[in-house]
Symmetry: C2
Subunit: 154 residues, 2 copies
């Protein structure tokens, strides 16, 4: 269990934890991989969330997953991209968070993923929590805790 | 400044911080982007370190940087990959670490990068420190500190 004082310090930057959906590039599950390729290359992120037409989170897709489809034994064939949909290659096993945030869960999920999507009770995509923002909070914690508190061995 | 007790807990997993060069896929600066494309797609990482023929760290390259070269106005042209070298597109401004590790520096650099390369005094690539391993240590810190110490407001 994470102690109360550690939680408090980690959550002092909580307002910055959520990168809101308006500021996150996403793909739709019905997009072609040709479109996905251009979006992913353009934004320079290696993986982004996938939503359906009701804005519900349905998965995530990485540039690797997209370009793998182009590899034809040893040659590279971009024509294949227009024949395959995002839903055909996406990772459907995406763990998500709800608000209010549990810092314990965030820290756990970010060990294995660069970002964790946030959804509301209906599964609608609200944004992401990134390793970058959490690592800023961790820096804050590491610097603050011993200047605020005297630590005495129990 | 990070306090001594926080440092101690964060460094308890230090032996796992370094993923040694033997276990990290790298590219050489003289490799073609065609080779880089196949390596990056094959390993599934979005960015890897680049070394010269003396194993010195000279940069890093991402799958995005490679595939961007294939984009020809709106069509995708893989033929270009064989004409361009890794050194032509790589990010040369790569911050690195030396051992013994300073936890303060690691936490700082990992806010902006998924991994930080480690070099020896001659600049030879020794491995990487990843956000994944550091986030494990952070979890350890968050869980341990208040069970080991009583925190009293200063």
């Amino acid at each position: 269990m994470i102690g109360q004082k550690v939680k408090e310090i980690l959550l002092e930057n909580e307002e910055y934890f959520l990168v809101s959906a308006d500021n996150v590039a996403t793909l739709q599950d019905t997009n072609s991989l040709e479109h996905a390729f251009l979006v992913l290359t353009n934004i320079g992120y290696s993986r982004i969330p996938v939503v359906d037409r009701k804005e519900k989170l349905v998965g995530s897709v990485s540039l690797s997953m997209v370009v793998e489809v182009m590899i034809d034994t040893e040659s590279i064939n971009p024509d294949k991209l227009s024949e395959v949909l995002v839903s055909d290659v996406m990772d459907k096993d995406v763990k998500s968070l709800k608000q209010p945030f549990e810092i314990e869960k965030i820290l756990n999920l970010l060990v294995d993923a660069n970002f964790v999507p946030v959804v509301d009770d209906d599964g609608v995509f609200k944004g992401i929590v990134t390793r970058k923002e959490i690592l800023k909070s961790v820096n804050h914690l590491a610097h603050e805790i011993e200047s605020r508190y005297a630590l005495q061995t129990k």
